[in-house]
Assembly symmetry: C2
Homo-oligomer: 188 residues x 2
């Protein structure tokens, strides 16, 4: 068990419940597993996404992981910068992640990691302290987020365990082994 | 520019066009950008996905990237193993990626990387040469695939360029810069 060095919030722009349900959930779950402490989804409110991620946290730990949907990104971004937080926007147009990650790692400020939908407002590029490209090819905000956080935490977050987990996995070569913390299960 | 050391095919199980459209597309685009040469989607046929990924390859390069949908996974897996290919199944239940990646990297065999939907048949766990966990937390097949390929290629694939690209990005700190290869565009 180890704790993240930075306070990370992930903001996903432009969520539409019907079209984006699974993708936004994957961004949120990736944020949780890769070291963020909050996940904000802009666009429309969506309680399904909050419920799904909360259920995962209840079972696999990190119950204090915060999920907000229907967030107003402009207000939040302005507020974040006023409070001296850093804004990092992941975009294929930005500077290559491997060229800037050391700079980003050096600062202790809380980091708001913004990932986009298909059309990101120009303002975001200007407001961001860093526009970071996880390679310059089109792929996925989930891939970009996971690689960025993996680089930031130098691969360590894949070893973290959450002390409040009810379920844990015992690594196995061919099958599934889940260990249940009975006393914790009863306490829920 | 550099070429991948291994021939990689990515197989996504269980695609349903309505529910999974964006997610399956993201898996395919991540496969393309992170060093695979083919992407197969099992479940239902879906020409939209093929078209979307093909369009990306036409613009950003790697026109020989193969996309198949409606693939029969059982037949394909059996065939792959008969032809001495390796099967690597990404699952949170498997062995930690950082414990097995050196072994996987040592072999020169073509690699079929299988990523799941919510319910993966038990057979896959048995057929796989490696069940690999990108951490033991639930997150996303897109995140798992990107981290696995990033580890396999030791982070180098984010620097690859595709010589047949019509469009290229010039990295920039605050904005978008696209360079167009005019002569290639005219040739399409």
């Amino acid at each position: 068990m180890s704790a993240p060095k930075w306070r990370i919030t992930v903001l996903k722009l432009d969520h539409r419940p019907e079209r984006d349900k699974r993708l936004t959930t994957h961004v949120g779950l990736t944020a949780r597993a890769f070291g963020a402490s909050e996940f904000w989804s802009a666009g429309l409110k969506d309680t399904n996404i909050m419920d799904t991620i909360q259920q995962v946290s209840n079972q696999w730990g990190k119950k204090d992981f915060i999920v907000l949907t229907g967030v107003k990104w402009k207000t939040r971004l302005r507020q974040w910068k006023e409070e001296n937080g850093e804004v990092i926007h992941l975009t294929m147009y930005g500077l290559h992640v491997d060229d800037v990650i050391d700079d980003i790692r050096r600062s202790q400020q809380p980091k708001l990691v913004v990932v986009g939908g298909p059309k990101v407002p120009n303002q975001i590029y200007q407001l961001a302290d860093y526009n970071v490209a996880v390679g310059h090819q089109p792929h996925s905000e989930v891939a970009a987020l996971s690689i960025f956080l993996d680089r930031l935490f130098e691969g360590q977050m894949l070893r973290w365990e959450f002390p409040d987990a009810v379920l844990r996995i015992q690594a196995t070569s061919h099958g599934k082994r889940i260990i249940e913390a009975e006393e914790k299960k009863r306490a829920i």
